[in-house]
Amino acid sequence: MVNKSSILELIDERIIILDGALGSLLISQGLPAGMPPEIWNITNPDNIKRIHKEYFDAGSDVVLTNTFGGSRLKLLAHKQGNSIEEYNKKAVELAREVCSNEGYIAGDIGPSGVFLPPVGQATIEDFEENFAEQSQILSDAEVDLFFIETMVDLKEAETAVKVAKSVSNLPIFASITYQKTKKGYYTIMGDSVEQCVNVLERAGADAIGANCTIGSDDMIDLIPQIKQFTQLPIISKPNAGKPQLIQGETVYQASPKEFADDILQMVKSGSCIVGGCCGSNPEFIKEIKQLGI
């Protein structure tokens, strides 16, 4: 691999384009109901590589590995706990195979799927072990950065960031899932934007932001609120609108063009790392690229 600048240096120069959805594309390609997508790193590697390549070709600077549910607690729920190392290592290899010298590979880390009391019975120590193991594997497999995302519980997110920080010096992007309530943006656990930003910044995140659940139109107003509490780079990775079920098919309402227009608004209000979450695809990334930002 040639020497390339850290993603953090690149952020100083220009807007970074992430990839879009992976899980929803795998489902449309036949991933069976209930099967953890990480299994496809082994059984259907070409599907995974093809999607990564389509994103790079569309203009993504960064793709996220197919490891969103690749932590032990999450895989255990599918009785796949023994395969954690294999799934995570292979995921990084697949992304690396299609990554050009200019591209970056982010080790994707999603929620553990278990909850602290009173919602569940998990402990902070459970989170620590869980994320230490996965981030160590991803780091050993030489990802360029960590992407901790879709966190609905700030304590879990904070733990993941701290643990990732302790296993390696790689940049850490941390993204929270907010809901839009009558009172404003909050996680389902009740963490405010200010709390999330402050806690993640203190924990050592290098970029912070939001992804999933809310569509691009609803995320526009969130970005200035994040901006108000931090100088760190801000990530915007919204869904492609709100999912609607039409004749048994899930359809996301935003078109690639509308989505890209919303992203432009977010860039104007301070976001510099942008991409798509559920319902998006390489077409959405192409539209963002065409904005010329």
Binding site: G34, F115, K182, K183, L245, G248
Partner: protein, 211 residues
Amino acid sequence: MNIEKECKAAILGGNILLAKELAETAITQNLDIYEFIDAFLKSIREAGDLFEEGEFFLPELMRSAEAMKAGMTIFMPIISKDKEDRALGRVVIGTIEGDIHDIGKTLVASLLSAEGFEVYDLGADVPISTFIDKAVEVDAHLICISALLTTTMVGQKRLIDKLIEKNLRDRFKILIGGAPVSKHWVEEIGADGTAENAVSAVKLARKLVNR
């Protein structure tokens, strides 16, 4: 003692100990337990409203539901002796096979139970036959099927089709839930309803069992 105020403090404060203490006091001092139960119910509905308004979040709502359950557990033996139909109805609930999303389903189960339904929570990744066997076994009024994935939603349809095939469809009301579920899907598969969130789900459940 101001029963309504105390019960409200216990439930909205998510105070399990206080809820238990109140229930025990009611019994030992021979007070009207139904006055307590009604006050508990009023409070849990208020907690639900606060959740809908964005004043309460998941932890607060879960704590309120837990406090409510703790109090109701103490009253239960007396209630069932008094009048069997004080319970609103029997509910079999679970997340459909292939889907391990638990949180929304558990919340609905907690609130239904807090409200006074007899709830059989089968957990997540539940086979269709398990749903049906349990519903028949307990003579359920309601079956609640959760699915968070567009790929597992079809399980909701398969369950209903299975009930029709076994000539059991009319025995149960069926509520379906999960992020991708819409009114349109309800109609398409012949379910009895869906709700935007856990609080509305409980309201709908009451309506479906005519309480």
